[in-house]
Symmetry: C2
Subunit: 445 residues, 2 copies
Amino acid sequence: MFRQIISRSIEGATRASGRSNTKASWSATCIGDLLNAAITPSATGAACVCTTTADRMSVSPPECLKMPINVPSKLLMGPGPSNSPLRVHYAMMKPLLGHLHPEFCKIMDDVKEGLRYVFQTNARVVCCVSGTGHAGMETTMTNLLEPGDVILVAQNGIWGERAADMARRHEADVRVIEKPAGEVFSLEELDSALAKHKPAVLFMVQGESSTGALQPIEGVGPLCRKYGTLLAVDTVASLGGVPFYMDAWDVDLVYTGTQKVISAPPSMAPIAFNERAMTKVNARKVPVRSFYEDITWLANYWGCDDMPRRYHHTAPISSVYALREALSIVCEEGLESLWSRHSECAQMLHRGIKDIGLQMFIEDPSKRAPTVNTIKVPEGLDWMKVVKYFMSKYMVEISGGLGPSAGKVWRVGLMGYNCTPENVDLVLKIMKEALEDAKKPTSQL
Amino acid sequence: MFRQIISRSIEGATRASGRSNTKASWSATCIGDLLNAAITPSATGAACVCTTTADRMSVSPPECLKMPINVPSKLLMGPGPSNSPLRVHYAMMKPLLGHLHPEFCKIMDDVKEGLRYVFQTNARVVCCVSGTGHAGMETTMTNLLEPGDVILVAQNGIWGERAADMARRHEADVRVIEKPAGEVFSLEELDSALAKHKPAVLFMVQGESSTGALQPIEGVGPLCRKYGTLLAVDTVASLGGVPFYMDAWDVDLVYTGTQKVISAPPSMAPIAFNERAMTKVNARKVPVRSFYEDITWLANYWGCDDMPRRYHHTAPISSVYALREALSIVCEEGLESLWSRHSECAQMLHRGIKDIGLQMFIEDPSKRAPTVNTIKVPEGLDWMKVVKYFMSKYMVEISGGLGPSAGKVWRVGLMGYNCTPENVDLVLKIMKEALEDAKKPTSQL
């Protein structure tokens, strides 16, 4: 059926070259299609001053693209992306479909059902923004906030900072409550901040991947309802690794990424709005700034309303296949097993880290996200040396800190496909070696 | 090296079930990590009222994800996406890398060089927005426009409409010049509109895929400079299929999609800003509304400034691989050959369409984009029947009209990998059959 044989020997290219050098122009009677004119002057008929295009080629094909792509095989044990199973990669081998073909709409529907499971919600509006995790954060801000709206950002790491930045760009009245890196907010603290600011939106991060802190979300939803506040939660670095119940916890909006526990390549930001969140969107006086991230359009394209699907934008087809496959794997294992695996592997890592004489950055084990584990860099040690040792000797990624934790910690990701006891063992073994190497006056690196 | 064997038999999941039903709570002394507590109560130590999570699971894994994904093999001869070569799909089989790993930065650099070639520019700021074509349009508006800025939109189809919509969302003063579907703007018309509105930005679409019109761009750039206007051009449906010279034509901003002539899956929006465009961005008084699409951040992440790359967002890694591979194929063939191939295949299609008694929607051949070919639906004929015939009998996609051309035309895409004489033959053969079938009082469909 497919007969797309690229003919590289089309004569036109040769014929198009070697023409006159006069500056080309076009007029109302000889508009455009310069190339047609150059190749087959008789085709357009009218006499016109159309010259070759070859003399305007100022940039040649780059040499670098003559070389094959170089992608080494690495084990990604940093804060994400994590590796994807081969099954997920294989899904992207499948041929493309049109963005509104019924088979593709069915795949979107399957993804939606899978997302309802991982978010634990029966919300109507569950879909994906066609951009990576940050696009989920931005979709939150651009839809929920109107100029002057008060948003309270619970900031204990880089994600709170970024959320505040985005909210300010949307002219919201941004109030921030802060906690030092590694700390989380208590219900009491949140209650008094809500009472003080009475925000339209409270933004929280469940897994603060810059510090490794796990923010408890349960109980926050009912507090927010008391103050007429919408609760928006970032679960990019946590979803699937720890329990999360959108409906049971009264979370009004949640988004995540694909490249962490779900173990698809980074590409989309799954997002869910409940009816309270949609009521705020539907009551907007100012249009949503972004057409691309406008949730009413997105929801329609994803079949979340009762209207026929309209063309909004072209979804990243292959990425949607990959996400479906990854969600299918998540469903096969089941969330309870997935959560247990993360918890057990993280505890195994924490024990091992203690055994080799290191300390976790967050003292209280109950405040640690199992997905991103932050380990204190001992005083006087060059953290970068250790990271380099992992990569150069074993092609294993662990990373340094980010934002408030920069220079203070190593971050070890245990996420989805990569979260296995074997990988924990490997990380511990390399860490031991790397520490010894880093202590040498002249390390091997 | 990779030892990610997913252990599905972790006991925790079993142990986590069957616990008490009391409503869970957490306090400052027993914060979160409900699962840890549920599975290994001794781990947290403190006595706390933490219950199992299993009783809160309100959504089960969906049945649909137990079925394998269903992706039929179709030949996509509509207005896009078009099919991707296997080589491009294979690139996505390669393992993931971190979004700032040196090998990945090298791949981004290669993509950048490839884009400089296809855009024919030496501009410093050439990169990709991590979203599909519409994200390119939005990145244009969000970066170039401040509230009150005058933008002139040359509107002769749906893309002009959408650009105007996006610009209004950014509180720009939107002026529109309109042409009927299928028409294009002359230099004289543009000159007088520029003189009248003196806009900060002129937005044009080179290939209006809703109508099949090819807007000549040459000559517009110098006009814009006369009025201090920036020229922004949408080349989503045209780039690679017809000549385009960003630098030689004085285009200040251009973007495209990946899923048309470039023949990668839809995923990103390649974009280029020249120094004039960047000067406007750098002089902004109001911050760019979108963090995700903020070109100064994007440009830094893509290594377009002299600063060290900072973490902005996670690029869609596999999609960047695919784009590199697709650009590599484009470079191997060369733009001149690619343009010729599109011109020749389109002419072959136009001749064939005439031979079977149909008419092209756009009469003047020089105003037709070779990439999206619009064919008039004869009076009294049901266009949908023909589209369905193509798909149900041959698994070939052609599409109906869009926006101003809805119901009036069929659209046949000839783009990149799919643009071959063999595919033109196939489309013509099916069209003949489909027309005969549609004329029957009771067609087979």
